[in-house]
Symmetry: C2
Subunit: 348 residues, 2 copies
């Protein structure tokens, strides 16, 4: 039996059931995406609910997601621990871990980390592309790292209250210094290895250096490899086998314990929302017309047009000879281990 079977509790393949954790998705708050998750056998999704929002706006966004999760409690439930995630998986639903892709919701207020953690936000990216109070994004010319007073305090506070630090869109120096400074392991929830994908792809600048992923793994962090066509070597033409090449390339360098999946699947948003992600209110520029009109995931590889396609990775990893225990780590286990170490307040 080399066929994949989607079950309520994960993806069955060769008599083993694999839960899938998607370490980053940013869908609109709509039932149809939850249905896709169920169709794909996803057990848990780190769901981005804020990118540039300030504190007031973020409260509204949290409220909206609370309501949508409640309205769709047959498909999803909110989780703030690995115990929650496992319980929700066993109930045949997908666990939603609320996350921010920026610290704009915190503004400049050290006390707000704890407030958002109490509201269920367990993952925060330090910055989205640009310089902020804490560090710098990959899109800045100059990355001053975690050198600001607030940045250093913020990392300590995220560690203290149990928020997983995500470095996906951070610049190189900010990435390296955050890995080094955090008292607990950190995440790169959605990025690919720059050395592997090359500099020819659209999102090349955002991909991570080999130095960064080696440092991440050394501190027991995890990177989510992404099939997002903007970040793969041959874009939409990338085959499942070529995606497997990338995963294997990373495993060869940083080990099987540091690798997971982060789809970066962001469906349902209008062109103006995609412009907002890129330019927010800090610029009057407009996103390229191509980005404005492109439908969600238009042009992604055939084998992963929706998150249901992530299950194909199980088959590919098996074909390459990875042991079922290794496949399980990459599909969910490594994220679960990292979540178990970081979603909890630090012992005093």
């Amino acid at each position: 039996m080399d066929e994949l079977t989607i079950t309520p509790h994960g993806v069955q393949f060769k008599d083993r059931t694999y839960p899938i954790v998607d370490a980053l998705s940013m869908p609109t708050a709509e039932r149809k995406w939850f249905e896709q998750w169920r169709e794909g056998g996803l057990s848990c999704v780190n769901t981005t609910i804020a990118v540039w929002e300030n504190s007031r706006e973020t409260l509204a966004v949290i409220g909206k997601w609370r309501q949508v999760i409640a309205e769709n409690s047959d498909l999803v439930a909110a989780a703030t621990s690995v115990q929650d995630i496992e319980r929700i998986r066993q109930s045949g639903r997908t666990a939603i871990v609320l996350g921010f892709q920026n610290t704009s919701p915190v503004e400049h207020n050290i006390d707000l980390f704890q407030v958002y953690r109490e509201l269920g936000v367990c993952i925060m990216q330090l910055t989205y592309n640009l310089q902020n109070y804490i560090g710098c994004g990959y899109w800045e010319e100059n990355d001053s790292g975690i050198s600001s007073r607030f940045g250093r305090k913020a990392l300590e506070e995220m560690n203290r209250v149990g928020i997983l630090i995500d470095l996906s869109h951070c610049g190189e120096r900010t990435t390296l210094e955050a890995i080094d400074r955090s008292a607990v392991p950190v995440a790169i929830t959605h990025a690919n290895p720059r050395e592997f994908v090359g500099t020819g792809v659209y999102g090349a600048g955002r991909q991570k250096t080999t130095e960064a992923i080696l440092a991440l793994a050394k501190r027991r962090g995890v990177i989510g490899i992404s099939p997002n066509r903007n970040m793969t070597k041959r874009g939409a033409a990338t085959t499942l086998e070529e995606f497997g090449d990338m995963v294997a390339w990373v495993v060869d360098r940083i080990g099987v314990d540091a690798v997971g999946i982060g789809s970066d699947y962001c469906p349902g948003h209008t062109g103006s929302v995609r412009t907002w992600w890129r330019y927010a209110r800090w610029s009057r520029e407009k996103a390229p017309a191509e980005q404005m009109t492109m439908a969600p995931h238009e042009g992604w590889s055939d084998w992963v047009r929706t998150p249901a396609g992530l299950s194909n990775i199980i088959k590919e990893l098996s074909r390459r000879g990875f042991h079922p225990d290794e496949i399980d780590k990459m599909m969910s286990g490594n994220w679960m281990r990292l979540f178990s170490e970081t979603f909890v307040p630090m012992a005093k």
Copy 2:
């Protein structure tokens, strides 16, 4: 007649009337400080109304100041041009130019500069002590200058809409790069020359290098020399003559056209507000007990315990042999020239 006489229109000394512009004060919104300004013959004060406030808080602060100015229209009036300032001076009142000591009210929104300018805010400091979206403050270990995408856009926008850029609390690189990048002259509203005051004083790190003030003057900017005891060579013991030494030292280096006065007089605030200035919400640290209990301007030099004392500088500059025209420039003319060049939207 070597006596100073305070008149409704300025300070009379040797048959000439000198208007006084104080380039930075941060009093509570209370009538008693306006009375002091009138007692001292001040024609215009750049009045700080926001330090760490976000946009929502700033709207309330602007509303509060609108109301207090209206309630005290016998003493003060709001100005957004040199014509306003002159008209208000001739009416025997003090012109208030609203200013921010931070760009926190703008948050990360390029459109808000224009909104605040419409609301009468003509002067903004790029950052208060720390790293923000635009640049870095003097209190950071690492100053990345005006290297962020938003920082570069923000300077262009401040130029465009007619907001004077203030660099007093900025770090060295941010100061130099802002001087260089701004299309119009900029201000250091309240700081002293670091080389002159030495590194022994409390606020030494915030004082400006000779390189910075030379660059400022070369681009036709103005620095406001301050009698604030935290920033003078001998603190509270600093005499009027020693303050005159500092002014003359600066004039010798950067010329009489680049020198003005900025008192940094911040009366009426409680200890908790002074802690807020320093630590806001970004830290849980407390200000030193000495700062918490010190009364406003306790321990400032006898000749300048209130802004009424600024008029003594006229006598001192005269004693040192400055020409009345030079004294007039330093007491008000240089600021008026800079305001006339910067409070106006840029020609298309």
